[in-house]
């Protein structure tokens, strides 16, 4: 019997689960993005393996409307200093150039840490299934090709998936009434007041991009450590920025771990948050030479549909924010 037991024990260990094979480290991916504030201020990237990029030329639009269900924000073109005055008057025909005086308080879209506060602001009562517009008339002003533009704009009403608004040049009695249907496939609908039409090729479909590198106009005093390019308004700068596809992406900014150390297992328990945008995250100025530099200590970890990525800027070539190229390092976790 002893022999039988020995034989049983010897044979028992012959077949086992195969151990996991060692896999070499996967190299991170490097992509180069060129941004030019006057010609191609916009590049969308889709994280993946490999990462895809899509560069867009500058286009002429002033307002964009949120398409996400239950979101009703209206924002201005972030690459142009567009200021807005809420007249708090409902009579569209009574608003003209004389409505602007020394007491007029102009507002710009206000950049917060993870969000943008729209200059148009809360334009109605959103406690109803169909928002009820306050019907305030807004005056918009911007400069383009050395020409000043003044427009007035009034949200008439909205239903579950439609914006309905009235607009026209401030000094003219003629006006246009336009309807914009929320397009679920894109985050925003873009509209050009000057061209009287929707701009439809500004943004790829939401499932085709994760990050949108571009510019954002904001107060120079607010971001003293971030390089910027000057604008027609001396108190406003054009900052390098990016937008996030907040329907699909959540982020965590890691400034402690090295890029190399960041991996899936230590990232998946981080507290990720939804964010719409960020200004100057990967940029800094050399304190001595004032040259544009990458801030490679900022590691942005992104989570999209249970896939994790970390991205950092490796180097920046170009002397000005208005025309430069950045090499990003992207690692799928």
């Amino acid at each position: 019997m002893k022999k039988a037991v020995y034989i049983f024990l010897v044979f028992s260990i012959t077949s086992c689960f195969t151990p996991d094979e060692y896999l070499p480290k996967i190299d991170s991916e490097k992509i180069n993005i060129s941004l030019n504030s006057t010609e191609s201020p916009s590049t969308f990237i889709k994280l993946g393996f490999p990462t895809g990029t899509l560069s867009k030329e500058k286009s002429n639009w002033q307002l964009r409307f949120e398409n996400t269900a239950d979101e009703w924000g209206i924002y201005t073109n972030p690459t142009e200093p567009i200021r807005i005055f809420n007249t708090k008057i409902n009579r569209y025909d009574l608003i003209n150039l004389s409505s602007i005086d020394g007491n007029t308080i102009w507002e710009y879209d206000d950049v917060k840490s993870t969000n943008i506060k729209s200059a148009i602001g809360r334009w109605g009562d959103f406690d109803f299934p169909n928002p009820e517009s306050y019907k305030d008339v807004y005056i918009l002003n911007w400069t383009q090709d050395s020409q000043d533009y003044y427009y007035k704009f009034q949200i008439l009403d909205a239903d579950i998936n439609t914006y309905h608004f009235k607009y026209g040049p401030l000094n003219e009695t003629s006006f246009q009434i336009e309807t914009i249907n929320k397009q679920e496939v894109q985050l925003y609908s873009y509209f050009s007041l000057v061209n009287n039409e929707q701009a439809k090729t500004i943004e790829p479909n939401t499932n085709e991009w994760h990050i949108h590198f571009s510019y954002q106009v904001d107060s120079i005093n607010k971001h003293t450590k971030i390089p910027y390019s000057s604008t027609s308004n001396s108190s406003l700068g054009l900052f390098p920025s990016f937008e996030l596809n907040h329907e699909h992406v959540e982020i965590f900014l890691d400034t402690v771990m090295n890029f190399e150390q960041i991996n899936y297992i230590n990232s998946r328990n981080l507290t990720f948050e939804k964010s719409k945008n960020s200004i100057g995250l990967f940029y800094q100025k050399d304190p001595i030479t004032s040259q544009l530099q990458s801030n490679s200590k900022q590691n942005l970890i992104l989570r999209s549909d249970d896939e994790y990525y970390v991205i950092r800027a490796l180097n920046i070539i170009g002397s000005s924010v208005g025309n430069h190229s950045v090499t990003f390092e992207i690692k799928k976790l």
């Binding site: 019997m1 060692y22 070499p24 996967i26 993946g48 899936y264 297992i265």
Partner: protein, 621 residues
């Protein structure tokens, strides 16, 4: 099919009151070894009448419209897999201590409520030897290993047996170049115990306990662009203990008290691994396979009388099935109780006729009372040609998750604690021919099911479905001291959606089990073969009718065995699954008003690929 093997043996060894004519097929110890079957799930591929394939790592086992959870499985007279409406892992039921497996069609029995078809496993008897051992080792060319060791002790009053086993089955890959497995490797450890105490010549105590741990590793694919994988691991642990106290109350009466406690846990884990750094951790990702676990308690009291010409069997049966993982889920209940009382009478009129009839009255605390009649007539039971007709009504419970679990366990469908048990009305008729070296049987069986759970318009399960299965079979068993040949042929007809559209699909099945002993050579050759033709079936999902068309399946195993040292040592060499294609296509069509529309081509697994088997069995004395 059906091969009709050793009717007399069936009767002699039955631990349940099952009639001989219902025993339609026996898979012997030799058949089990020829096909290198290691667990019940593997055996269900080979067993006639059953159709088995694996889809998304989950075995789909059925006879016609009856899923395996509508078919009772017993080991030595006790439920081997609880009430079976709980996704029991049949890989945890090993075959190394099994002497034979029998399939009974429409048996007339008292204790079983789902007795349209019953699978009985009979374990090896404890030999009346002071000490004996049996070592069983199997290695295959697929790097599988199966080993068991049994030690038995007996002094005629006390007999005991301890069996331990380790079984390892390697991965199955669709593409060997990829890491992801189609079927993960699994390892099972068993500890099976048996004890018999003959307290008095008329009082016997039997206790046995089966314990198994099954660990499965399903390897995931390498996530593109990373060194990372997500593996799915499954741990199935089961423990059961059952016992019976038999008192021979008089010359013709036996009183039995039987009890069983069965517990299992089925845990699924997702593990994230970094194959570069070696880091691994439990995944936070939602597991699509929820953990489950159930307990069953059972107690029976029965009285059997063997008086001529009237025999009878009376008894009561109390059972409780309880969820041990989600005891407070959905805040309703996660347990049910059955209380059964039954009486079976058999009246023999000389040698011309035996009438069996019986009633079972059972009460389920969720769904109420049921009265299940059964009836059988055997004409000329001791003549060369015997005719039999059986009719019975049986029930099986809806899947536990459909009764109790919330929507996220049921693909968005709401549970219904008031689902009726699924009813099975069966009619079975056959003709048996008995000669000295030849048995033959031919018959037909029709089973109509009703109250099958379907999803209604309010997205809730309700008892509305109907289905039916029909089979006609013929089989022969030619045997003498040298050869045993058991061919059989069947034609099955399935209608799974009788409540909605009357679509009946046919498929053929052929089986051949042969063992030849070469005289004066101590060599035995065995052959097991099974063929299932193109299998078409209809099913309902989201109130849409689909048709699944599956390729044919072929199983062929050969074995040559030689005995040494006065039959103590047996060495055999076999080839399994010779003609088998592990992956077969399963085309899915959606039924439209005028035609069917192709939807998808799935690849499902019919079995493991061809492998060579080397087996050593050593028995002492």
């Amino acid at each position: 099919m059906i091969v009709f093997a050793c009717l007399i043996t069936c009767i002699a060894n039955q631990t349940m009151a099952q009639d001989s004519t219902s025993c339609a097929y026996t898979l012997s110890r030799d058949d089990i070894e020829t096909s290198n079957l290691q667990n019940l799930e593997e055996a269900l591929s080979i067993l006639p009448i059953f159709h088995k394939y694996i889809k998304n790592r989950s075995p789909q086992i059925s006879y016609g419209s009856l899923g395996i959870d509508n078919i009772a499985v017993f080991k030595d007279g006790f439920p081997a897999a609880l009430d079976q409406n709980i996704n029991y892992d049949f890989r945890s039921i090993p075959l190394w201590d099994i002497d034979r497996i029998e399939i009974h069609l429409t048996p007339v029995v008292g204790q079983v409520k789902n007795n349209a078809i019953v699978i009985n496993l009979y374990s090896l008897k404890i030999p009346e030897q002071p000490i004996w051992t049996k070592l069983n080792l199997t290695n295959t060319s697929s790097s599988d290993f199966h080993g068991s060791f049994i030690l038995g002790l007996s002094n005629l009053t006390h007999s005991g047996q301890v069996g331990i086993s380790r079984s390892f089955t390697n991965d199955l890959y669709d593409d060997e170049r990829l890491r992801s497995t189609s079927l993960g490797a699994f390892e099972r450890y068993d500890l099976n115990l048996k004890y018999q105490y003959k307290i008095l010549p008329s009082v016997t105590l039997n206790i046995q306990s089966d314990n198994a741990i099954v660990h499965t590793q399903n390897k995931g694919k390498i996530i593109p662009g990373t060194s990372r994988v997500r593996d799915h691991e499954n741990d199935f642990n089961k423990h059961n203990i059952c016992g019976s106290l038999q008192l021979k109350a008089s010359k013709h009466h036996t009183l039995s008290l039987e009890g069983m406690v069965h517990h299992f846990k089925n845990n699924n884990t997702l593990i994230d691994k970094n194959l570069n750094s070696g880091q691994q951790n439990l995944s936070t990702h939602t597991n699509t396979h929820p953990n489950t676990g159930y307990n069953q308690g059972l107690i029976r009291l029965s009285l059997k009388s063997f008086n001529k010409p009237l025999e009878y069997s009376l008894g009561i049966d109390l059972s409780n099935t309880r969820d041990n993982t989600y005891q407070y889920i959905d805040a309703i209940s996660t347990a049910y109780n059955d209380y059964t009382a039954y009486g079976i009478l058999s009246y023999k009129l000389k040698n011309t006729l035996i009438l069996h009839g019986g009633l079972r009255l059972f009460h389920n605390n969720l769904t109420g009372n049921f009265l299940l009649p059964q009836f059988q007539i055997e004409l000329a039971p001791r003549e060369v040609i015997q005719l039999n007709f059986t009719s019975n009504t049986s029930v099986s419970y809806a899947p536990f998750r459909q009764l109790f679990y919330p929507t996220n366990f049921n693909e968005g469908v709401r549970n219904n604690v008031l689902l009726n048990p699924i009813k099975q009305n069966a009619i079975h008729a056959n003709v048996i021919l008995k000669q000295k070296n030849l048995n033959a049987v031919s018959g037909l069986i029709f089973i109509a099911q009703s109250d099958i759970p379907r999803v209604d318009e309010s997205n809730t399960f309700n008892s509305a479905g109907k289905a039916s299965s029909f089979s006609t079979y013929a089989s022969i068993n030619i045997f003498n001291d040298i050869v045993s040949i058991k061919p059989s042929a069947m034609m099955h007809a399935i209608n799974n959606t009788r409540d909605t559209v009357n679509l009946t699909f046919f498929y053929p099945e052929l089986n051949l089990n042969t063992h030849i002993r070469i005289p004066n050579s101590k060599i035995t050759i065995g052959l097991n073969a099974k063929y299932i033709g193109k299998h078409t079936n209809s099913f309902i999902s989201n109130n849409t009718i689909y048709i699944a068309e599956q390729q044919k399946m072929r199983f062929l195993s050969l074995r040559i065995k030689r005995s040494f040292i006065k039959e103590k040592l047996k060495i055999s060499f076999g080839i399994n699954n010779i003609l088998q294609t592990p992956f077969i296509s399963n085309d899915i069509y959606r039924l439209t008003e005028i035609n069917r529309e192709f939807i998808d081509n799935e690849r499902v697994i019919s079995g493991y690929p061809r492998s060579f088997t080397f087996k050593v069995v050593y028995t002492n004395p």
